[in-house]
Subunit: 416 residues, 2 copies
Amino acid sequence: MKSASIVAVGNELLNGHRVDTNSNWLQGRLLRLGFRTCRVVLVPDDVEAIAAVLEEVSRISDVVILTGGLGPTADDLTRFALGKFLGRPLEFRSDIWQTIEAFFERRGLKTASTNRVQAYLPCGAKALANPKGTACGIAAEQGGKRYFCLPGVPSEMMAMFDDSVCPELTADGQTDVIEMGKVRCFGVGESVIAEKLGDLMRRDRNPQINTTVHGGDVLLHIVAAAPDPESAGRLIEADKRLLSELLGDAVYGYDDQTLPEIVGRMLKEKRWKLAVAESCTGGLLAKMITDIPGSSEYFWGGWVTYSNEAKIRDLGVSEDLVSRYGAVSEPVAAAMASGAAQRSGADTALSISGIAGPEGGTPEKPVGMVCIGLFFQGRTEVQTFRFAPVGREAVRLRASLTALNWLRLQLKGLTV
Amino acid sequence: MKSASIVAVGNELLNGHRVDTNSNWLQGRLLRLGFRTCRVVLVPDDVEAIAAVLEEVSRISDVVILTGGLGPTADDLTRFALGKFLGRPLEFRSDIWQTIEAFFERRGLKTASTNRVQAYLPCGAKALANPKGTACGIAAEQGGKRYFCLPGVPSEMMAMFDDSVCPELTADGQTDVIEMGKVRCFGVGESVIAEKLGDLMRRDRNPQINTTVHGGDVLLHIVAAAPDPESAGRLIEADKRLLSELLGDAVYGYDDQTLPEIVGRMLKEKRWKLAVAESCTGGLLAKMITDIPGSSEYFWGGWVTYSNEAKIRDLGVSEDLVSRYGAVSEPVAAAMASGAAQRSGADTALSISGIAGPEGGTPEKPVGMVCIGLFFQGRTEVQTFRFAPVGREAVRLRASLTALNWLRLQLKGLTV
């Protein structure tokens, strides 16, 4: 297997300001292309230091990916460091300059003179297009080793890697490939899953199975090694089937599918419309649903009834109910779901009311307590959950996912 | 200022499975002790590789912190690598072995023989106590450089650093401390800022100023070195004032303040209530506002009018307007803002309607085009923006922040 190194450039990566997540993403991509990452180095914005790191990692790698330091400001020094390491002067490339000017013109802006530096490349290097920004990437080769400089902004870096670097590395010809797949579960603990899987999680098994947890989501990562992508893919598929049988309804999807996406697909198949009424999640549930392109096909819309007044006026929740039971209560959550369904005419509706914290908790209604309502087939049901009070964001995420998962299970019950 | 390097050991850090967050935490701690992190290296579980990295980083660092690879299993190799690099054999330390046995005994368990390896240290090295686990840490000194091996489990690593490493480094007598501050801007490009700052961004200036960008947010990081925290703090404060004067209204906050937080504070001061009406952002704007604890004091609530029907029914947007100009248009955005203000009785209201993509763009209304409406002091204004079509998430984030920033500027205008 060929080897790769990643060099992440930027003072902010070394003074505690930002966690480097680019390298993690790149490792996965490189693995799939048959490159094992043997080193990741974070280095400050300093020409000598970056060049010294290139010296070190070039000895042990077939490919070196650099991220960051391609912008127009004085602390963007990657191009100079690459030139120094390669022993090649930088040259002004008018074709790149024209691309940068065109980028600003399309936005009705004048190009700043500071952007001029972005048109300089080490002699003999190739520019990599950046459809999302002004910083073009750089590709260079020397002594049989390949060097790619990508922007530090994750979205630009990812697009440029997939568009420009990936094809070049694929052409290189690989030895063993690694394929990865995921089985996604909701509503069961990691230790329960570990018990059900038992021997399948052995370290020396191929594929290897690892678990990670996030906001109630348990992900099973399947990592298969094989001589070719097809064989690796077959191993992954077999494991997906096996894990799905073992875990049943807890499995909601595979690979990069999300719960909002899966629920969206189920709604679309039924030609149903969903409406939501949110209190403590404050728009998060609607945001997660509309993260999915095309969600307008099945998402009617929603209410963020953050104040009691909004609940009463917009959803027709009775004032009496709110004052008698409080905004965070099963009767109010039920009235919110019914109200949302009625006012929208949607086929199904979800409501959430709870205490996200950090303030507002009481002994009977502690932080983390959330009531979820579901209007489904003409009936409204309601459930109360007590999530661990591990932070406002976590409670809100957990509540939104739990609501979606409930709807998923109900929709699934219909199809069975 | 003294320099530190961090070496994070573990295959899982190089195959895309786990993001190394330990190093980020350590950087902040080291800075406060007067050590600037000059390198972070992630290296696989391999004795030769770890020793080679130690060779490299010891040349440029006064202190090297290693994390991970101290466990009892076959892939835990850090102690062997340290011994190899220092040129010292490992010796069995019965005092450590007794501590490990005691750890298991307290839990009513028998010590596994595999744990025996954890009692071996390079000759002359010191053990660091681990109150949270079996892996003791290692401290060693050679050629005036100091080496500390800590466990990879974040909670154990942090406790051991604070309990055992911190006092040793403090005792070293520090030269300089580092303090950090941020100035946060919105609505101006990084290159424009670079031009305005000019010489202030010189690499050899103290404080050093670095810029990073995220979703239209431009952050200026101020990193000051001084003999004591007070002097460093004064340097930071002076730069905050200087940058604020240079950048004027573009500056919305400092340090960890966010735009939703700043706008919330302004609304609270005025005792105003805000309502929102969202189409393409689908709840994101409301979610960002309600991310802030206590937002119920100034946030009335909102509508996610994702369908035209919702816009018409819930906000009173006229059907004629929607069919004549389309949902993404200035007249509809204006009607959404007015409708939200009217129906809620809130003092001010924001509306957003746009094309988030990836589908749905046309030549006249391309992906990234967003109309934002603002009801403010009895009048509704509307603006159209054309954001770079760099992805659904980015367009939605940019639109939400732009809406909040517009409201901020209007509120600011009132106070001036």
